[in-house]
Structure formats: C-alpha cells, structure tokens
Amino acid sequence: MSVYITSSGHYLPGEPVDNEQIEAVLGLVHGKPSRLKRRILQSNGIRQRHYAIDAEHNTLISNDEMAARAGQACLDDSFLSKSRLEMLSVATSQGDLVLPGFGSMVQAELGVAGVELHSSHGICSSSMMALKAAYTGLKAGEHDNALVIASELASRLFKASRYEAVAQEVDFNAEFLRWMLSDGAGALLLESVPRRRSFRIDWIRGFSHADAYPVCMSVGRAVGDARSWQDFATYAEAEAAGALLIRQDVRLLDNIVKLGVDGLLRLIDEGRVETGRIDHVLCHYSSHYFRGKIFDMLTQAGAAIPEEKWYTNLYTRGNTGCASMFIMLDEFRRTQSYQTGDTILCMVPESGRFNNVYMQLTVVEE
C-alpha cells in the first residue's frame, strides 16, 4: 500500500521580523546590544523570521494554537472533512505545558474527535519521527488518513529576561541559537489514495548516533554541572545556574555535516537513493554555512546533487526547528515548478544528539 501527502499547510505568527528588528523584539540583555548577533546572522544567512511574542514579551499565540492553525489550513486545502480524520501525529521541541503530551493539546485546539494520537519529542527531527509514525500507521492498514503537525515556539527562550536571570555572563554557546531559531508551524495530510497532484512517500529512514556523540543542543543542564534542571531545590535556582538556557555546543556541529553525508552514502549503498535521479533536494540545514559544507563533502565523494536542485525557504521563514521541513515542503508544493514523476529528497539532520532522518517523495497524478 502506498501513502501520499495530499495536502499541506503552515502558520507563521505575526509580521516578518528582519535582522534589524530582532533585538527590539527579543530585548537587550542588561540593556546592551549583542556583540555576537551580526556574526551569527551572517553565518546562518537568515534575513526574516516570525515570532509569537511581541516586544513587551506577551505571547500572542500559543504553540498549540499555531499547530492547530497550520493543521486547519492543511485540512481546508484538502478533500478530507475534519470529522473523517483518523490519526493525529504531532511534534514539537517544547509544548506550552510540560504535561500532558503536546498532541492532546493540539487535538483539543483543532477540535478533532476520536483520533488515534501520537506525540513525538525531540528537536528538529521530531517532525520526521511524527511523520514516520503516521506513515507506518497507514502502511500497516491501520488508518486511511493522518494529519501530521509540527510546531515550535522557541522565542520564549530568547527573551532578554531569560539571560538576565542567569548569574554568570552568557557565553557564545548559550547565545548562538538566539539569532537562529524562530516560531511557526507546518502540517501535512497523509492519505492512502492520491488526490490530484500528490507526493507519494517512497520511504522514510532515520539514523541516530546518540550512543557515539555527546549532547550538542540542549535545555536542562548548566555548563560543567551534570544535574538536570529538575534536580535543583527550586526551579529558580536552576534558572540562576543557567540550566534553563538553550545551548548549542558549536564545536560539535561539524559532526552534523559528516553524519548527514554518511547517512546519504548509506542510502546510496542500500540502493534507496540514486543521486542522478534526484530532481529536488529539501534539506533542513540550520544555517547557510552548513549548506556549503554538506555540498562540498558530497562533491568530494562524487555524490553531488547540482546546486540548482536545492530548495529552501530558510532565509525568509527562519529556522523553525522541527516545523522547518513541513513549512518548506508546503511552500515548495505551492510555489515551485515540478513534474509528475519527479523525485524529491528531504533531509533533516538534527544536532540535538545527532539524529538524521531522510525521506524520498515522488510526484504523482491521481
């Protein structure tokens, strides 16, 4: 049985925020402009993004509401009535509540009855894990359709007050993601029959390497302190220790390029990927800097996919973590030119603790 992506949708909160306005929204830490902002933005290449918070740090729309709006947009564009939805599979890095699962909150917000529910937890690759759960559900004949939604509200972590609450001075690794991540949601509808022009999912395959690498991106632990934020006597102490800052160990980032290429070479070896037959590449690279590196390494290996086949909307929609790939795929579907029979390769290399997920799609006509 084949599984098709028959509809897609996205939701980006508010107006786009350009590089000049970022700090006006996120705030000046201790009243001083960042000295790292320009350098980090230059390297990631992002020009615009969206935030669900305003300059007074009010949250204008919650994470589950954004997810529901992306899901609704996806259903509105589909042939499926909401009441016939059978499965809801969602992903986020951090829901509005610690408990219950994000899926429950999104289901309630979206107002869909009696669905089978799945929530994926992780960072960028969690959307692909949610997608795979839905895909295998349809493949196994358990369901005829599933709505998959990924949503992120990272900006709450980047408010100036978060950094001011930390006793020590904030280091590069803790500031890095402040100029990288932003908010948004994307949704895909899976069905066991194609509708008009759809994307057939040929396969989805993940490779996780957490056993061989240290943590690279995290929230919940301070530098040089093995304790979890939950081990502190009070949450206030955890915050003061810096355990609640989102951190990226930038020195480990080069591994993401190697592992991204490694997975692709593995798929070539297994015969799943033929680079010569790929018509479009959608790769969730967190910053422009890595695009060049991935490209160079693939070229070196003689497995290059020509640059004109690579599509991204990172620079205008921002890096929305796990939502990025769905937001990218939605915009690709609506705005790019592709033909029946075209092959699309999607890649999500996640730096959290190095989980890389790949997917191949084929454009089909009903």
Partner: protein, 227 residues
C-alpha cells in the same frame, strides 16, 4: 570544489572509505578515554597515557609502510615512489611524540620502555601481514584511516587536550604537526585511489583493510584503560 576521484570504481571506493571513516569516528566516540577528552574531564596523566600507547603504533607504522613499499612490483613503481615518499616524511615522527611526553611531565625512559598493548599488537601484526603481500594496494585503506586520524588529532584533539589540561601547545606538537601536512597527504591519497582501485576485488580489499585497521585502532585506544 571538484570531485577528488574521477573513475567510477574509485568514486565508489571513496564513498565506501568515507563511510568507514564516519563509522570509525563513532567507534572513537564510544572509547572511554576519548569520551573523557570530549567532555573535558581529561587530565595530563590521561594525555601521557594516550601518548604512551600511541607511540608503539607510530613507530611500527613507519615499518609497515616501508615494508609495503618494497612489496610493490615493477608495474606499481609509481605507487612505490609515493609510498616511499610518505614513509620518509613520517618515519621519525615518534621522536616528536616522545618530546611531547616529556614536555607533559613524563620521563623519557618510561615511554621508551613502553610495550605494545593488545590492540597495538593486533594492528601491527595485521599491517605487517598485509604489507608483505605482493602489490598490497589495500594499504591505501590503512593510510586513509591513519591520515584521517592525523587530521582529527590536529583539528580537534590537540586543542581539546590543551584546554582540558591548561596547556599552551608546548606538549601537543606531534598532534598539531600532523595536521599541517596531512592535507597534502590526503590529496596524494585521492590520486592513489584512482590509480590502484581498478577492479572490484581491489576495491573490496581496500575497504576491508580500512575497516580492520579502524577496528583495531579503536581497540588500541580501548586497551589504554587496561594497562
């Protein structure tokens, strides 16, 4: 950037070698002493112990590569020249390593009295055996792993060691020096891959030797904990 290797078999071989390398890096990530280095919980004593155990392989490395050079017959005279050049450049590297050991607070007599650990024994025995075969083209696979390590030491380990042990680069010369030359070495290796990977059997042999060397090298590092 251009593709470094041009023949079909050579490219497949290079892709295979890259995968062996990535897998090797993951093996290294599971070795206790390397995990401590990556976490920054690494002492000067750990470093001396690392050098002590690396020394045997560095000394023996110069031997298998010269042995390998002499095993190439007339049809491979050009390859032999390359391998001899490589051996000549590196065959006294261990002296720099010993100097680092001393600069890091170790006694010269101690490192000179060092014995091969179980992993170094296995690696050495395997390499001498392969290098003694006629036209041992699969040595390219071993060189791929050893050169790659040189780059990793220079670009990553040396800095981490100095940071974790409050060093100023004075006792990480061996590791740093390797990085300065290994780019040129790797370029030569790419050329060699095209030259010696001409049949599926040769390709298989190169990849197999690379895998074995990677595994035995990791074993050598695991053995540091055992003596």
């Amino acid at each position: 950037m251009e593709s470094k290797v041009t023949t079909q078999l050579g490219q497949e071989c290079l892709q295979g070698l890259m995968r062996v390398w990535f897998d090797f890096e993951r093996q290294l990530g599971r070795v206790p002493i390397i995990q401590r280095l990556e976490r920054g919980n690494f002492t000067r004593e750990d470093y001396r112990s690392l050098l002590l155990h690396l020394r045997q392989q560095v000394i023996e490395g110069a031997r298998w590569i010269t042995r390998g050079a002499s095993s190439f017959e007339r049809d491979y005279a050009d390859v032999r020249s390359e391998v001899i050049g490589h051996a000549k450049e590196e065959h006294r590297d261990y002296e720099m390593l010993e100097a680092d050991f001393v600069a890091a607070g170790g006694a010269l007599a101690e490192i000179r009295a060092g014995q091969r650990n179980a992993g170094s024994e296995a690696l050495h025995a395997f390499m001498m055996y392969r290098a003694s075969q006629p036209n041992p083209v699969d040595l390219i696979g071993a060189m791929w792993i050893i050169e790659g390590l040189g780059q990793k030491m220079a670009s990553d380990w040396a800095r981490r060691i100095d940071e974790a042990t409050d060093g100023d680069g004075r006792y990480t010369c061996f590791m740093r020096y390797h990085g300065e030359n290994d780019d040129a070495h790797l370029d030569k290796l790419y050329t060699l891959i095209d030259r010696v990977c001409r049949t599926p059997e040769q390709q298989q042999a190169i990849l197999r030797t690379a895998r074995v060397v990677a595994r035995l090298y990791a074993l050598q590092l695991e053995e540091i904990e055992h003596g």
